[in-house]
Symmetry: C2
Subunit: 107 residues, 2 copies
Amino acid sequence: MPVPEFPEGTVPRELADARASIDNLDAALLHLLAERFKITRRVGELKAAKGLPPADPDREDAQIARLRSLASESGLDPEFAEKFLTFIVREVVRHHEQIAGNAAHQA
Amino acid sequence: MPVPEFPEGTVPRELADARASIDNLDAALLHLLAERFKITRRVGELKAAKGLPPADPDREDAQIARLRSLASESGLDPEFAEKFLTFIVREVVRHHEQIAGNAAHQA
């Protein structure tokens, strides 16, 4: 689905091409994120079942170090990579807390 | 690179498997983001060259609507998809402002 904004024919060709690539990458990112949350949801259920806390600072520190290193290799700002992981983990912890809350209600 | 946190052999197998998949997906996400920022950097240069403003609310509204719809189809929370795009676009606008600032300094 194209996302027009300039009147037809007035978007510079190079900008239109770039936006089409961005839209393709965004769809890919979204589908990978959907897959990632499917997995973290299972992790949340496992943690709730075993009584482990939703957040895990040591694991997060190791993930941050790894992603900063991968970012440097890919020409991405390591600061941004860290902010990105923090953003995702915040959402994951929110899911885990919901799962733990649901489990508590069922107990 | 694995990211251990429990003493060796004490992480439940299912959790270790899930974490390995998460690490794979995170590497893929990071590389797609690196590619996305390469493209938006080119867009920023194009916009600066043509004197277009860095942010573009109409385009962003259309992107948000598209990603919310894709999220619903993929079992992802549309609210999260919107927050994700906002998070990325904030970084892109920061890059564009840097590019515009550099161009102004060179003028």
